[in-house]
Structure formats: C-alpha cells, structure tokens
C-alpha cells in the first residue's frame, strides 16, 4: 500500500459493535482528485466505515489521517474541509430548505443567501427553497441534502447511498456533480450497494459481510 500524504488515509481500522466485529482491518487511501466507491452487502459496515472516516466514530484499533496528520489532532481543520451526507437527509422539517442550508453551512463558512440559492438551483430544487422541508418528497430532500454538500465547498465528500430516492434525472445529476467535484480537485468516498459507472477513474473497495 502506498502512503497517502495527499489526502485521506485509513490504516487497519477495526470496529466492534458489542460482540460483533464490524470492520475487520479496513485500509484505504484516497488522493485528491480521486473517487472511491465502497460497496458490500447489507451489514458489511459501509456506514460504520463512513462514520469512522468522518470522525464521528472512533475506531478501537487503527488510524485515520488527513494529509499525513491524524484527524483527531486536526479535528476543526479537517471538519472544515469535510462534507458528510448521511443516509437520512438530516433536514429540520419545520425549517425551509433555504434555512436548513443556512444554519448547516453557516457554521462551516460565511455564506450568502444567493450562494445557497445557486446550490439549490444546481441540484434542481430552487423552487423548494422557501418550502418547509417536511412537505418535500424523499427525492427532493435528498437533493436539498446534496445542495448542502455543494454549498459547503468541502474538498472531501463522504456520501452514504447518495442515489437513494433519486429519479433517473436525479441520478444523472448526482453523477455529474460527483464528476465535476473530482475534476475540480476534490475527492469523494461514496457508499453505494449497487454498481457505479462514472466517466472517471474510480477506485473500488468491497467490504465483506
């Protein structure tokens, strides 16, 4: 394995959930401009791996580093460059789509309403900006969550099943956004249980059940 100092490096990570050994020595590295597709059957630990990489879950064994430094030692800096989209869209039903974005992105960087509006436009939900998130469909919520990822202008995207609930056009849009992100020098770790075909070099990691 090469040592990745140009991005993310996960070394021999072990995680136990009670008695269950969920991640059994997973290693990966992800350079700038690369995309990694993590696949595997249900219960293989894909989401757990994503939570470990995000820093939400500390592994019992192993290390995660960002540009050669442990993520726990550069937590604030690392989180500022990270956009995490969990399996659920993580939106407040009582807030409008735009407010949801403003409160989530505003903690990461100074952002104007116009910028947030253009993110919503890029994901095709500009018309929903002033609607409370609870009246949106599952697919629209997914698009708003993706707009949040865009607006964060993070270099590392961690996406958990980003294609769920999206229609054909939404899937194409998602693919295009991922490609654009990678071409602009970002990197992404995408968890998806199905095959991904993108027009760029994509590395794969298959987790066993």
């Amino acid at each position: 394995m090469k040592t990745a100092t140009q991005g993310l490096c996960v070394e021999e990570v072990h995680v136990w959930c009670g008695d269950r050994h969920v991640l059994k020595g997973v290693s990966l590295d992800l350079d700038v401009g690369e995309l990694l597709h993590v696949s595997g059957p249900n219960g293989a630990g894909k989401t757990t791996l994503l939570r470990v990489v995000s820093g939400l879950l500390r592994p019992e064994q192993g290390a995660v580093s960002w540009f050669g430094r442990s993520i726990s030692s550069v937590r604030g800096e690392y989180q500022a460059q990270l956009a995490y989209a969990s399996h659920e869209p993580a939106l407040k039903g009582d807030l409008t789509a735009l407010e949801n974005l403003r409160f989530a992105v505003g903690l990461k960087r100074r952002v104007t309403a116009a910028e947030l509006g253009s993110s919503l436009e890029r994901t095709g939900v500009a018309a929903c900006a002033d609607l409370p998130a609870r009246v949106l469909s599952a697919g629209q919520r997914r698009r708003v969550a993706m707009a949040r990822v865009l607006a964060m202008r993070a270099s590392l995207w961690l996406l958990d099943e980003p294609f769920t609930n999206l229609d054909a056009a939404g899937s194409d849009l998602m693919t295009a956004l991922l490609l654009a992100h990678v071409h602009e020098g970002g990197c992404a770790l995408v968890v998806a249980h199905h095959d991904l075909t993108l027009g760029c070099t994509m590395r794969r990691l298959e987790l066993a059940a």
Binding site: V32, S54, G55, L56, L57, R58, G76, E77, Q79, A80, Q81, L82, Y84, S86, E88, P89, A90, L91, K92, G93, D94, L95, E99, F103, A104, G106, L107, K108, R109, R110, R148, R153, S155, H181, E184, G185, G186
Partner: protein, 240 residues
Amino acid sequence: MSAGTQGGGAGSRGRPVGVWEACALIVRRELCLSFRRPDQLLQPLVFFLIVTTLFPLGLSLQLSLLRDMAPGVLWVAALLSSLLSLDSLFKSDADDGTLEQLALSGQGLMVIVVAKTLAHWLVTGAALVLVSPLVGMALGIPTGAFAIMMVSLGLGTVTLSWLGAIGAGLTVGLKRGNVLLSLIVLPLAMPLLIFGAGATDRAISGASVAGALYFLAALCVFTCTLAPFAATVALRINLE
C-alpha cells in the same frame, strides 16, 4: 468554482466562522425552530400556570396558609415544567440526523451544547421568570417580594437548564429516556429547591435573603462552568 477553492480547504474559503458567530447562529436556529412550534413552546408555560393555580383552588381559602406554601409550590412547578421540554434538547436533532451535521460542522461540540442550552433557557427558564409574577399573585405572594422571587427563579432556571443538559446528553440515545432524565435531574436539583424556596420564603416574611441568593448564585456559576464539559462528554459518548 476553481480547483483552488475546491482543494484549497478552509484557507481559501474566507475567514473561518468564529465561536460567537456560530453560537449566535445556533441560538437563532433553536429559537426559529421553537417559534415554528408554538404548541411546544407554550406547553411548559401553561403547565406552570395551571399547576400553580390549582393549589389555591384545592387548599382552603386561608391566605396565610397559601402564603406559607407558595414558595414550595412555585419552585416545584418551575422544576417540573422546565423538565417537560428537556427531553427534546438534543434528542430531536439526534433523531433526524442534524446532530451529526452539527457535530461535523467544524465548531467544537461544546459550542453547540452551550448555544443549545442557552436557547433552551431563553424559551423555558426566562419565560417562566417573566410569567412568575402572575403566579405570585395567584398564590398571594406580596408584590414587594416579586423582585427577589424573579431573581432567584432566574438563577435557579439557568442552573436547571445546565443540569438538564447533562441529563439530556446522557439519555439522548435512549428510546424513552424522559423518565430516566427526570430521575437523573430531580435529585441534583434538590439544593436548588431548598435554597430557591428559602429565598422566596424569606422575601415574603421580610427577612434577609442574601445568604440564600448567594448560594443560588454560587450553584449557578458552578454549573455554568462545569456542566458544559459534562454535557459535552455525555453527548459525545452517545454520538459514537
């Protein structure tokens, strides 16, 4: 968007968001969420008003008896009503996944805990203090004692919000944690009840209230300084 802004990280994205700015943003978010749900906002207040006005109805109409009971009734009702809304302090965010987003926002978890607890106090504690003269009148507390009653309630509810934040942090992962939350917070709130009711009682009888108020202030400072750490650790354990 250029490659520079994408890959360059925080430095190229302007000045990072400061702690106070982040705090203000979270407080605004919490207030915004509270005012979108007026029923939940008013519940603790209405509970406080109803419970305290039930006592004059249930007891005999002797004003002296009512005045003797008033401080205890007032404080127990304040304690219980601020517990009502504690359950959702972190839980609602944990349930819909927004707590993870907050935890990964680049702001320390403690900033989030402090801001959310402050917002919680504003919509419950501060509101209780503001309506307490109404309750004071119903319980026959002389108007001269209102100022002391409000100050002691103010100090008490801040302490309560912090004790509650620790409890809410500990029980955030539980499905029905609100009973356990009460069991954790109520015993811790006993000194508060003793000195809070004591201060109000002494204010009614015209005795010196300094001792009790100082003790309440000390408790308030103590929890304000240490509870953020405890609540943050409790929440972090439950996030993992």
